[in-house]
Subunit: 224 residues, 2 copies
DNA sequence: CTGTTATGTATCAATTTGTAACGGCGCGGA
DNA sequence: TCCGCGCCGTTACAAATTGATACATAACAG
């Protein structure tokens, strides 16, 4: 059974209260194992995650897969480039999203506030993707995993302290494909972190941070 | 001496003719070795490259560097997220850019057409960064380099045929930091491509494609 | 309960990196 | 002008990291 992320609403503060209220009626519920869109689907909507976790992936013809991002509450997913989606968006946990017509981003379509929120989300997306470049290109396996855990904690709004718990709704393979590693390396590295007492596993999908400072150190510095 | 990219105007077609004419008066000339902005600078403008090549980098506190992107004619650089730039933008070749106030993207500020062009550029940027994720996370050194050459050729509008020449205005180190490799690996891989007769070097910064089909094969498939 | 999938572990192989050395080229100063 | 210096690029070899393979174990669904 999937574990629900704590503090699912933490990142929604960037959206106005009236927006959140209006969205509630338009919200769409998604089941784990389902999907929001697939590569090649017509990109008619942009989605905002209200709760739950989604996964955005791209697959090469030879089968190699790259997880582009995980969609957490507050994230906006499905920015269009051309007529079709170029990624798959799958549902990892029970989730709820709001769908906005792409015209709301492209022309405003009468709702200036929402237009602005979607635009800001797109710019934030660019910035966070730049962070991820550093992760993929210039960090070792252990740095990647440590960074990943830190980013996840930050993303769900959980302060990094001793005994902080972090849910991992995604599989080891998802983590590997997100970090540009193999599942074996993920396993190995998690074991290293466990043996060195930096983390413990409550369950396979629930990590306990034992030494937050060590984890941050292992994560390697951010941009200077 | 830097080599000028062929077909510098190739990608400008996505911007309207009237725009290009208006921009000419606002254009700013840049010298190699100079820069457009640095991390921490206030992000007041968004830039569009008219000619020349720029380099967008992010540096970690431990000195590790990631080249986020190379800015070629038609590219838009400096999308803001928050008040400050989070990257350095340096000038690789004599270049010309136009600066737009960030309000033009954020509110339109009266110019709907430009607003739309900048927004489209942002969405295109997200998509191309997703491509690059695949490159960084799931391709081998030789695949990365082959892909890089193909993308460069495509970017400047040069069709990939026998004896096609591609200018490399950036250093080996820049290429390495872009692809998540080391300069030595870049050198070694270029040598491999040369020895196998796929490419030749007109000069250090000028590649000749001898076997375009082999290069495309080596580049590995795109997303399926 | 049982077949199936996911995860962990160990071993070995492959790729990539690190280190060092060398040559070439441009630049500035003597 | 010539020389020396430093940066860039290349190469060879050793070392480290990561990947591949195989298998055991655990979790899960029917």
């Amino acid at each position: 059974m999937y574990v629900t992320m704590p503090n699912d609403q933490s990142s929604l503060s960037q959206f106005s209260a009236t927006r959140r209220k209006a969205d509630r009626k338009l919200a769409r519920d998604l089941k784990p194992g389902g999907y929001l869109f697939r590569e090649g689907d017509e990109a008619r909507y942009i989605f905002r995650v209200l709760s739950g976790v989604l996964r955005l992936t791209r697959v090469m013809e030879n089968g190699r897969r790259q997880v582009i991002a995980f969609g957490y509450p507050g994230d906006v997913i499905g920015f269009p480039n051309g007529a079709e989606h170029h990624t798959d968006c799958d549902v990892l946990t029970p989730a709820r999203v709001v769908a906005y017509r792409r015209e709301l981003l492209e022309s405003g379509a009468g709702d200036a506030e929402l237009h602005d929120e979607l635009l800001t989300a797109a710019l934030r997306e660019i910035s966070s993707m730049q962070d991820h470049f550093m992760m993929l290109g210039r960090k070792s396996a252990s740095e990647k995993l440590a960074s990943f855990l830190c980013v996840l904690a930050d993303r769900v709004g959980t302060p990094l302290g001793p005994y902080t718990q972090i849910a991992l709704p995604m599989s080891r393979c998802d983590i590997a494909d997100f970090l540009g590693l193999t599942t074996e390396t993920i396993s190995r590295t998690i074991t290293q972190l466990r043996r060195s007492g930096v983390i413990a596993l409550e369950s396979v999908h629930q990590v306990i941070i034992l030494k937050p400072d060590d984890l941050l150190t292992l994560a390697g510095g951010e941009e200077d």
